[in-house]
Symmetry: C4
Subunit: 237 residues, 4 copies
């Protein structure tokens, strides 16, 4: 496996933890650039501790090619089924982003009001697991639940998961990570704006369209990546 | 005393402080695995400074077996009386969790809306000390007050203590600690959800039932424990 | 000057900064235990950088006995005039506590709802400088303004200063510091409780009376002090 | 270039990041003291990583005098056009201050209620880019947009940028930095005050006038600067 690629994914795990987007739970994967029917995902450990050797390869059935005796993440079907349904998606984040979860249990839609999270304007549907499976523990434990989530996500950049968290995707890893970081910021700003006024100027469709194609968080990524990998190296010693 | 066990309790003290669940006050105990009529609790110091040698053994009367000239925690009766009333409980946390206290002074019940804190759906009663003792300083200073609190807690996973904090229990230490961490998160999310909308989708009874038996925060615990003990060791030098 | 005493005051400066109660501004003083007509206060620098040699001695006229060529804090009259008016007060904190300032610009009184800040129940008056001096910059720049503030404070443990911050006093330094830390926490909790419900169970008069005489934050103080002085020593190197 | 001057600007970048006023984006510039038709601005990297060698010199047309093969900040026109329109301005900050953005998408004006941010009372206009260019990505990508922003700013100390952030200016660098830090604090306090009460005592015109001329954050600056440069030096090793 390409070392730089693995380091990107190690960094992604740690960046999301550092920004408070994922806690000891949550996970981030990337599609293999060598084989679009494979993806890379860390074994079942806390993201902020992930090192390169913790990363396993999976097929689109969300089963590890070689588990190396490691337990896999329970909700790996989120990743496999989204990669299956969305050929252009190269990275998937699942998180419990604290300011996003409250929106998922209300009927208040997330809307674009901050240019760093303009992608919200493309729509962030809310996955109600109860429509697919009653009495669940809200986790995506089967391929069928993964498929249902992918269906709700459809062609959007992110979807809420009611009472649970969200899933965020991107055409590359920095985009999926950056969107996750700024979805949290945007949700907090939207709550504050709603507390200030019932009349909010959201970004309009043309503004969303102008912003989104170019937003890949490339100014933040090198900073985030360097800090994360420096910490990963320090923890090895 | 088994060293790993003591380290678990040292870690629990520090994890709760690190997550902002307990301040310089608050405490966490575990029932002795060798004798169900004994429990372990640190002497009267700030939790984030606890080391293995600070831990004392207590009987169910909440008196230290051998105080070693150390002062005991004033509110140790919380622990003794809950262990007496709840044979299956192996760990007890008392905290001043900042987002939880506001609920304790209102009639708004904590309800389950985040799957990481599904246990809230089993019910979190509110202990009003004024019903037992008027004009108190709100502290559980006597066995009688400990018994009254245990009675309010009944068979539930946690109870609020009006104007003071909460008590959280578990069948093992990681569960009591994880529940304390996520009770704080859940309370914050509930406040935010209530600010967004009066119509909230709480977890339903079947979802709570499906979630709770399996939630022991085992993915978080090794990360939390390792970080806490590394810090404890560093402070010794 | 007694070294332990100076270290107490060094620690107090740094504890308040560490807890976010004072920013680069704000100050804390203690009455000299050798001469009740003198008090100790750091020269005009950011509290989190204070070392023992930065501390000067003042008379009750708020003028430095020996300024050692150092500039004094502009608002030192807060301290001198309160020590003059309140013989039992041994320590005074002035801060810009972020959750407290919003209360100072409304008519909503701070009330006791958290046992760690039970002293709030004795009353926290709000000093409106405009009643004494119109068109001021809100600072206590003269003995007359210090006297007016002391008059508003009267026999209370703390007073808000409209649009500016607060002043908190105590019969000893840990008490004034601990009250400042928990006044911030209590204000945040009160805002959150008010957002949840219009019906709040505040501590009643008997509970306030039972709590306050015994609350000197002695469990927190050694932890806070040790951490602060370790940092002060590290910065010297 | 004068070394102390460059260090001031290095520090300014890092201070703003440390206070959460700028994220990986945002930027701060200072007018050259040697030539009022020039200004200094770091190349297009995350502010918290800026070192002296990252700083480039620009003309008032916002083009680098000698780009040294480095990419420039996209929104550099904010700086050039404000320096052109405001001869007395010596420093400009552009940020995405998280508590300020929500005000920019509502009709609720920022008002002065905290003496550390008294400058707010001089007025903080809100720049609606849509009035100048429809369907933009909200960024100031051209001299024309920079001019329009400068026109909205007019003679004020700061202007919001709808859905994007704000621009803050000063007659010297510490003032522009300090105003940015306290604009964020003041916005948070105003939201909290509005949640508490519809009747708020804002600073009156005379109080604003008395406060503002003297506020240059000179007590905070040396502390902030020393900490920032110590970190910059440590990162070099």
């Amino acid at each position: 496996m390409d070392q730089e690629l693995l380091e990107d994914l190690v960094a992604a795990n740690r960046i999301l933890a550092e920004h408070g987007v994922i806690d000891a739970y949550g996970h981030v994967s990337m599609r293999s650039p060598r084989d679009p029917r494979r993806f890379l995902l860390a074994r079942n450990i806390a993201p902020e501790t992930v090192q390169a050797e913790d990363i396993l390869e999976y097929g689109l059935d969300s089963e590890a090619i070689d588990p190396k005796n490691h337990a896999s993440v329970t909700e790996r079907y989120i990743h496999g089924e989204i990669y299956r349904a969305r050929p252009e998606v190269m990275a998937v984040v699942h998180n419990h982003s604290p300011s996003v979860v409250p929106f998922s249990v209300t009927n208040v839609p997330l809307r674009a009001l901050f240019h760093m999270a303009a992608f919200v304007g493309e729509g962030v549907p809310n996955f109600e697991i109860r429509k697919v499976k009653k009495g669940s523990d809200l986790l995506i434990r089967t391929p069928a639940l993964g498929k249902a989530l992918a269906k709700t996500l459809a062609a959007k950049p992110a979807a809420l998961m009611r009472g649970h968290g969200s899933v965020v995707v991107g055409e590359n890893l920095p985009r999926a990570v950056g969107r996750s970081v700024y979805l949290e910021v945007s949700a907090r700003m939207q709550l504050q704006a709603l507390l200030l006024s019932s009349k909010i100027t959201f970004m309009d469709a043309a503004e969303v369209k102008a912003s989104n194609p170019i937003q890949d968080y490339r100014r933040a990524w090198p900073l985030w990546r360097d800090k994360a990998l420096a910490k990963a190296r320090a923890e090895r010693k």
